[in-house]
C-alpha cells in the first residue's frame, strides 16, 4: 500500500530542484517547518521562490527560520506580507539581490486557498486604490471598489503540524496553524513534518485540520527548537 511516511527530512525533500517555487507555513517562528527548512539549507538548493508570510524572524541579534536561506543567497524571489521581519531581507532587497512581491496578509492567505480550492480569481476591497493595487483590475460591487486577485501556486508546500497520522491527516496546535492548512491545499506536492506521527485511527476524525488528501509526504521532525524562555 501507498506509504507517505519518509525516514528523514532530507529524504522527504530530496527531489526539490533549483528554481523551485516553495510555500513555507508558519507565522514568525510559530508553525514553521524547521526541519524541512534545515534539510533544504543543507541540500544547497538555489534560485528558490519563497512564498511565506515572512522571510524568517529576528530575535535579539539572531535570525531564524527561513533567514539562513536568504542570507546564503538561495532565494530569487519572496512573495509574502511582512519582509521587514528580518534585517537580512532588507539588506538583500536594498542591494537588488532579491525580488519582492508584497501581498497583504489576508489576500496572501486567500490567494493560496483559491489555488487549493479551484477558485480562478476573487475580488477583495483590501488594498483598493493603494500602491499594492497597481496593475490590478478593479470592479465596483455594491458601490464599493474591489480588486481582482489571482491564485498563488507552488511546486512544493513545506508545512508543519503538531501531529500527523500515517495517512497524512494533520492537526495543528495554538497559532501553529496559520498558513499551513492553506499551503497544504495549494502546492503540487505537500510535504508535512510533524512533532508526532501516529497510526491511522489515533486522531479524532472530527478534529482533523488538514485531511490526508492534501498531504503527499510525512516526516517526523528530527529536532524542535524553542526560541522563547
Amino acid at each position: 500500500m501507498v506509504n507517505k511516511v519518509y525516514k528523514s527530512s532530507a529524504e522527504a525533500i530530496s527531489d526539490v530542484k533549483d528554481g523551485a517555487v516553495i510555500m513555507f507555513g508558519g507565522f514568525g517562528l510559530a508553525g514553521i517547518p524547521q526541519n524541512l527548512i534545515r534539510a533544504l539549507y543543507k541540500k544547497g538548493t538555489r534560485n528558490i521562490t519563497v512564498i511565506s508570510n515572512n522571510p524568517g524572524s529576528r530575535l535579539g541579534d539572531n535570525e531564524y527560520g527561513l533567514a539562513p536561506l536568504f542570507k546564503e543567497g538561495r532565494v530569487r524571489k519572496f512573495i509574502g506580507s511582512y519582509p521587514a521581519a528580518t534585517k537580512s531581507f532588507k539588506e538583500l532587497y536594498d542591494a537588488g539581490m532579491v525580488e519582492l512581491e508584497l501581498v497583504p496578509q489576508g489576500t496572501l492567505a486567500e490567494r493560496i486557498r483559491a489555488k487549493g480550492s479551484g477558485i480562478g480569481g476573487f475580488y477583495v476591497k483590501t488594498g483598493a486604490g493603494t500602491l499594492l493595487a497597481e496593475g490590478k483590475e478593479t470592479r465596483a460591487i455594491n458601490g464599493e471598489q474591489y480588486i481582482l486577485e489571482y491564485p498563488l501556486e507552488a511546486d512544493f508546500a513545506f508545512v508543519k503540524a503538531y501531529k500527523s497520522d500515517r495517512c497524512g491527516n494533520l492537526v495543528y496546535r495554538y497559532t501553529g496553524a496559520n498558513f499551513n492548512p492553506l499551503m497544504a491545499m495549494a502546492a503540487a506536492v505537500t510535504i508535512a513534518e510533524a512533532e508526532e506521527v501516529v497510526d491511522a485511527g489515533e486522531l479524532d476524525p472530527s478534529t482533523i485540520h488538514t485531511p490526508a488528501i492534501f498531504v503527499d509526504r510525512i516526516v517526523k521532525g528530527e529536532r524542535y527548537d524553542r526560541w522563547y524562555e
Partner: protein, 214 residues
Amino acid sequence: MTAGMNEKDMARRAAAEIGDGYYVNLGIGMPTLVLDYVPADKLVFFHTENGLLGMGGFAQKGETHPDLVDAAKQPVTCIQGASFFASDISFAMVRGGHIDLAIMGAYQVSEKGDLANWTAPGMLPSIGGAMDIVAGVRRIIVMMTHTTKDGRPKIVKKLTYPVTGYGCVSMIITNLCVLDVTGEGLVLKELAPGVSAHDVINSTGAALIIPEKP
C-alpha cells in the same frame, strides 16, 4: 438479457480503475456498489461531498448516527484515517483537483465526453455536487446502462439533455462494453461477455472506433 454485465459486474470493472492510495467520489445509486469491489491490498479513501473522506460502507442497524451520512443522505460508517470537514473544504477537494476519480451515473454521454446527468424535460431540476465534480475531479468514469429502459441510446453524437459538463468523461462502463473517450472519438475498449461489437454499435447513437482486437 443474459448477455452483458449486470450491475455488480460493472461495479467490479469500475473498481479495477481505482489505484492504490486513490481518493474517489462515488455518485448516488449504482456507483456506490463499487465500494464492495476494492481489493484489500489497496488503501482507497472514498469521498462524500457532504464532508467525509474515508467512508466505510452503509451503516447497519444499531451503528447509525443521525449526523453520519453520505451524499445520498444514507447512514454510513467511516474507516480509520477518515476525516470530517465543512462543505467548503469538501468542494475545495473537488474543484481544486485533489480527487483522483469520480464514478457517476448519466442520462447521456456524447462522443466528446460531454455529460448530462442532472435534469431532463419535465423533471424538477436538482444538481447537488455533480457540476462541481465534473469541473474539478481529475478523471470521470460514467457507469450506466447502455440504453434507456425503452431502448434508446444514451451514448449520443450530441447531448439532447441539459449539459452537466463538457468533455469531462474519460471512460464509459455499461452493461455492454467499456468505452474510452479519446481525442479521436469513442474507442471500444472491452466487450462484455456474450456481447458483440455489432450489438454495441446497434445500441449506440454515436460513431465508435473499433480497434482490430477490441
